[in-house]
């Protein structure tokens, strides 16, 4: 006899009590892995660019390689950050309403700043 209280179908799906399985965990690791080379590239750029004036910075942001890598760094960074903040909020905020409100606010802010940054980078790159 099956000693597990879960049904075979439930076990095969492997989604657990949160109904999303290991998706959150996996995406957090995937974004972490992607950020390793991106962050190293960005740190080197940031330090070598710190004396640059307005025109130099715009030329750099608008160059094809920097444009793509900057968008990736900011968007994946925001995604990784909002996943991490969600865990922190779930750990320390015990009031259900406040917890939900904070998680939703974090996700909204991430999407807002992500889209605004992408639009700004593209405006610079495409000369808007």
């Amino acid at each position: 006899m099956n000693s597990d209280l879960r049904s075979p179908l439930n076990r095969a799906r492997g989604l657990g009590s949160a109904k999303s399985g290991v998706h959150h965990f996996w995406v957090q690791r995937l974004t972490a892995l992607a950020l390793i080379p991106l962050v190293i590239w960005f740190a080197i750029s940031l330090v070598t660019m710190s004396g640059a004036d307005y025109g130099m910075v715009r030329t750099w942001i608008g160059s094809p390689v920097a444009m793509v890598l900057l968008i990736l760094t900011i968007v994946i960074g925001l995604h990784h950050g909002q996943l991490g903040l969600q865990v922190v909020i779930e750990d320390y905020v015990h009031n259900d309403g406040a917890k939900l409100a904070l998680i939703v606010a974090v996700k909204f802010i991430a999407v807002l700043f992500g889209l605004a940054a992408v639009v700004a980078i593209m405006r610079i790159g495409f000369g808007g």
């Binding site: 950020l35 390793i36 740190a43 710190s50 925001l78 991490g84 922190v88 992500g114 940054a117 700004a120």
Partner: protein, 132 residues
């Protein structure tokens, strides 16, 4: 109130404050703290490209803050948070893959992360400040 819903006043299990600080737990806490700081840091990054796209006056204001004393310390703090979170994050990925769980290894990788993040932060901060 039913018996089941009555709040229980049992003693809590030993919590963080009763333990002597160890390197491993301190780095774990620092990983979270730097992660929270970097979540704000990435918003700052987004503001940077928005200022660059907005025009020279807006960008001059942004750069004015960056080259101020406070701005220079923000840059240093930002670099430390990023390098610490990067190196300790790689340590976490090794754990996720199942390596480095022996206590000796956890301490060795921990000290490696501390030294590497301090050295790389110092070098990049000094280079960055010279260029501002």
């Amino acid at each position: 109130m039913s018996v089941a819903n009555r709040p229980v006043h049992r003693p809590l299990s030993p919590h963080l404050q009763v333990y002597r600080p160890q390197l491993t737990s301190m780095l774990s806490i620092l990983h979270r703290a730097t992660g929270i700081a970097l979540s704000v840091g990435v918003l700052y990054l987004a503001v940077w490209v928005m200022c660059a796209s907005a025009g020279p006056e807006t960008y001059a204001k942004f750069q004015g803050f960056n080259s101020s004393i406070v701005g220079r310390f923000v840059l240093g703090g930002w670099l430390f948070c990023m390098f610490f979170h990067l190196f300790n994050g790689i340590r976490h990925l090794f754990w996720d893959a199942g390596y480095g769980f022996e206590i000796k290894d956890a301490y060795r990788s921990g000290w490696l992360v501390v030294v590497a993040s301090l050295v790389v932060t110092a070098i990049s901060w000094i280079v960055g400040l010279r260029l501002i």
